[in-house]
């Protein structure tokens, strides 16, 4: 087990080193190396998966090993180790499969690009980081891998660095997620401060023994969740993800759909005992997820960039998972549902992205308004994409159905038990309908109807085999993943939700399972209804055209605008900041120089403004003081030499004056004292 874990990590890192330094000199620029490495990792993961899931077959299986790494002094020892349980095994499979597929796909998609070798090096780096994130056994290494994932994402988004938009996007992504990371770091520090440990199991144990007080665990939990908010692009740090689509499409599929953004969800799942010890944290998580899920889906309706639509749908789906985990603190099945959705989503979202990549590859545009009727030209892509769409829409027999349904069931049960939290379910339900609607909008506009741009249509062609094979693999997985209900149950058996602490007690007190059956079936029925409702509506609008888009747009005017402009969040950040900044001309100047992009748009004007001010402070006040001092010294020097009049009588007068003063002062002092 240990060896396997090492091997899984070793292959990508070796590939990275070789690829980074010698990539150019290798045949085919070494694409086979990275791909092969991740393939080997996949094999190892698979063996591990079999071992854990099938040979051991123990829901509470845990393999843990840790090695001393370095010491921080005073008993604060940092270790490195593996924490392998069922969740790890499943996650490993997801990551390696998607990663391998994307590697494969990239060989075709990226063919002929400049820095082709670096691209694969970065992919290897990413794979390594992600696998490390999954395998590690303590918070510190988790944080490290967290950051490494961030930086590989930075490198990959900025792969087309000579494009300003890409350069902006990668920086925005990194910085925005880093804001989350800082919170996570603070969360880790809080835990370390009170427990002095990094190791998961030790921390869980300590938490379960109530070694730290309620509010501390709440603060730590919320801080840790901050990391997830950043990395999983939850509201309000979601702004980087749509921009991140500037990266090459395989990257979007791998990082910004399937794996990295799921890392936040994985982290919440992994550290669930910490979060679930505090109901407040769980509620925060649930509502943040809900907000993201709902409003991202609203935005997705009106977008026309194919990748952006998918990006917003990703946001929305991540929101589902997060909500599920949040609810999982109160309802038994939801935790599993969230993680299950993470898995299924990984496959179908990767599939959707790769399909969109295939489409883009064919028509060289991202705008769905310029597509149409492509199903004739590229049938494999069309079919696989429809499979993905069905999966995401929650149509039965596809993977999304089971997971989404489970989430809705959990939310419904929660809502029934705690009526004040019923909106969670409602929001998710409506969101599900909207999801079906906009995904089919995408399908109809892209593959059906008449081509809207004949020229592009004429040049379109099916993608090469290296690209279609991954699509097929993923499509299969999107279907197989749909063991539907059974899948959820199966996972339930494997991944035992580590419900501990107060939330669980609360759940137990309310009698878990009270509305469980009702919720389950009710949710299933309702979700089916809304999914088909969404599909049908979409069909009528975009295929049959029985409902005019223009009319809809007009009727829904403000709402449309709201959605089309992404609720003006980016602009909101900008506008509030501008308003703040306008107050001072100094800062205004700074602003002019710096309105460059989003995340830094959030922070840049403020920070840049402050920076300018503090720069000015430095230049004029602190430094000025010093220079002023110099001037003063000089002036005093000049004044003191003014005494030096050059006139001898004057010198004598001054000397006499000094004598007189000295004597006078002394005499007066003597008089006063004695």
């Amino acid at each position: 087990m240990e060896t396997l874990a090492w091997l899984i990590l070793a292959f990508p890192i070796i590939a990275l080193v070789i690829q980074y330094f010698f990539g150019k000199k290798l045949p085919r620029q070494g694409d086979w190396l990275s791909t092969g490495a991740i393939g080997l990792s996949l094999i190892c993961s698979f063996i591990l998966f079999i071992k854990v899931i099938f040979i051991e077959g123990d829901p509470n299986y845990l393999f843990q090993v840790s090695y001393p790494w370095f010491t921080g002094g005073g008993g604060l020892d940092f270790t490195f180790g593996f924490h392998i349980d069922n969740l790890t095994a499943v996650m490993l499979m997801v990551v390696t499969i998607v990663s391998f597929v994307v590697h494969l796909y990239s060989i075709g998609y990226m063919h002929g690009e400049q820095f082709y070798d670096s691209f694969f090096a970065y992919l290897s780096l990413f794979s390594f980081s992600m696998l490390l994130l999954v395998l590690c056994d303590n918070l510190f290494v988790l944080y490290i891998s967290w950051e490494l994932v961030g930086v590989s994402s930075y490198l990959l988004i900025g792969f087309y660095f000579w494009k300003d938009s890409a350069a902006d996007a990668c920086k925005k992504a990194f910085i925005t997620t880093r804001v989350g990371d800082v919170f996570m770091f603070l969360g880790i520090m809080t835990l370390v401060l009170y427990l002095g440990k990094f190791n998961y199991t030790e921390i869980f144990e300590a938490v379960s023994h109530g070694e730290i007080s309620g509010w501390v665990i709440t603060v730590a939990g919320i801080c840790l969740f901050g990391g997830a908010v950043g990395k999983s692009a939850q509201f309000p740090l979601h702004v980087w993800l749509p921009d991140a689509m500037e990266g090459p499409t395989p990257v979007s599929a791998l990082i910004h759909a399937a794996t990295m953004v799921a890392a936040g969800v994985y982290m919440v799942g992994r550290l669930f005992p910490i979060f679930s010890s505090s109901p407040e944290t769980m509620l925060v998580i649930a509502y943040i997820g809900l907000i993201t899920a709902f409003f991202a889906s609203l935005i997705a309706i009106t977008q026309t960039d194919i990748k952006r639509i998918l990006a917003y749908s990703t946001l929305s789906q991540l929101g589902y998972m997060i909500t599920a985990l949040g609810v999982g603190g109160f309802v038994v099945g939801a935790y599993t549902a969230g993680l299950y959705h993470l898995m299924t989503h990984a496959f179908f979202k990767a599939l959707l992205f790769l399909c969109s990549g295939s489409v883009i590859h064919a028509v060289h545009t991202n705008e769905i308004t310029s597509m149409g009727g492509l199903r004739k030209k590229m049938p494999i892509t069309a079919i696989t994409m429809i499979i993905g769409t069905l999966a995401i829409s929650g149509v039965p027999f596809f993977s999304g159905f089971g997971s989404k349904d489970a989430i809705l069931a959990g939310a419904l049960q929660f809502g029934l038990e705690h009526p004040q939290h019923f909106p969670i379910f409602l929001g998710l339900l409506i969101g599900a309908g909207i999801t079906a609607f906009y995904m089919f909008r995408l399908i109809f506009l892209t593959f059906f109807g008449e081509p809207r741009d004949q020229e592009k249509f004429d040049h379109a062609h099916e993608s090469p085999v290296t690209m279609t094979i991954p699509l097929i693999i993923l499509a299969l997985l999107s279907i197989i993943g749909g063991w539907g209900l059974y899948g959820a149950l199966w996972l339930n058996a494997l991944i035992v939700p580590p419900v501990i602490g107060e939330a669980a007690h609360e759940a137990a007190a309310h009698g878990a399972g009270h509305g469980s059956a009702l919720a389950h079936y009710g949710a299933m029925v309702l979700s089916l209804l809304v999914a088909f409702g969404g599909i049908v509506f979409s069909y009528m609008v975009y295929y049959k055209r029985s409902i005019s888009v223009e009319m809809l747009t007009k009727k829904m005017g403000p709402l449309y605008q709201l959605s089309y402009n992404k609720f003006w969040v980016d602009e909101f950040y900008e506008k509030t900041v501008i308003a703040f900044v306008m107050k001072s001309r100094m800062v205004l100047r700074a602003f002019d120089n710096t309105v460059i992009d989003g995340a830094v748009n959030i922070t840049a004007p403020i920070t840049r403004g402050t920076a300018m001010i503090s720069g000015a402070v430095d230049k004029y006040i602190v430094d000025g003081l010093v220079n002023l001092l110099a001037i003063v010294v000089q002036a005093i020097g000049a004044v003191s030499t003014l005494f030096q009049s050059g006139v001898i009588q004057n010198y004598l007068l001054k000397a006499a004056c000094a004598i007189g003063a000295l004597l006078l002062i002394h005499n007066v002092i003597m008089r006063v004292l004695y």
């Binding site: 921080g72 002094g73 005073g74 604060l76 800082v182 503090s614």
Partner: protein, 500 residues
Amino acid sequence: MESQNHLLTWMTFWPLIGAAVILCTPSRAKLFIKQLAFLFTLPSLACGLWMMKDYDPALSYQFVAKVPWIETFNIFYFVGADGLSVPLLLLTVFLCPICILASWGINDRVKGYFSLFLLLETGMLGVFISLDFFLFYVFWELMLLPMYFLIGVWGGPRREYAAIKFFLYTLFGSVFLFIAMIVLYINTGSSFDLTTLGPDIAASSFWANAANLKWWLFLAMFVAFAIKIPAFPFHTWLPDAHVEAPTAISVILAGILLKMGTYGLLRISYPILPDMAVKFAIFIAVIAFINIIYGALVAMAQTDLKKLVAYSSISHMGIVMLGMAAMTPAGMNGAVLQMFNHGTITAMLFLLVGVVYDRAHHRNIDGFGGLAKNLPVYAGITAVAFFAALGLPGFSGFISEVLAFMGGFMSHILWIRIITIIGTSGIVLTAVYMLWTYQRMFLGPVNEKYADMPDCTLREKVTLIPIAIIVLVLGIFPNLLINLFEPTMGRLVELLSKNF
């Protein structure tokens, strides 16, 4: 007195011999002088490595030599190394040959440059090996003059201003150190011995009743060291000096000279006046915080690349101070580790600035763009340096920053914890200015003006890659370094914790 160990003495004075030899070389033989200078830094490096062979982290002072120097004043030539100085000694002997290589382009008054450089190296090593306060002070001051000339003669356009500013600031600080030194000497039974001053004071009844005096003494020493660090608001010499200094000297300034401030605090202020150190902790932490945030913000406002790096140094040294202010094992270890790591990382950054300046003859960040396309090697190494500077895991800076922040977070003093929490936002700010700079220089559309700029030469690679390797290795195996000083720092923390 048991047998004297002359290893450290040799290490320190080899460069001085080199300087003397260079002075005797005809000034026409420029290349020969450069080679000579390089050769004379190597024995020190060898001594440093040899030192590692026998160094035992568990013991306190090693390689001790104690020879009476000025008997009447009880001054000794007393040198030795412990966990605190060993990393810095290694850093110094390692960076100096690299800096000589980086100075290969100097062609004006070569003889003066390299002999002064070697003199400077002696001064720097001397500071780190001194265990006698007076000796420490002599070396401390000895560095001033070479530095003044190196900046003033071979620097940029405003070199005179920068050089005198550096000189004035440092002297301003060191006169207070001077006073504090003598006051300590007078009131501790005439001793300059850094190893015994602390216990002497702790045991003395005079000092037990002289809290006020101790307070002032600590402040005086703190001012001296704060200027070197440089701590807000004494930092303004640094951007000027860094910007105007030639590349190698910027490297030395940022890589080694700044460490002397924090080294001095840890070597002198903390052990000698631990009770005052504890009292000042919150104050140091506040300054550290200002350094971190303020340094980062001001860095963001810069358009001159070198100035940006200079301000980033201020920010990073704030982290060192934060770790020190925490007075927890993690904080202390983080601080020392960060001292070393900042030394290597900033050295890289300055060398990189030098590379691009040699080609473009300006350092305006906005004046570049898209360099990554045509200078992949340079861009790659710069990316490594930048990522290391912003504390990316895998690079050494990360470990030390984390340790320092954790130390701060675990401090006994609540306010320091709060300061640390706010201070972590510095992590984001660092990322912002580093990445933004990287974007403006390397990403985006290619600036046609520099389309045919050549990539790194072999010499530049030779200077940069060893540092990069160290940065990486220490990022993955920080224990290599931490083990060297962890016991020493543990003892210091123990000493301090008695005073809480």
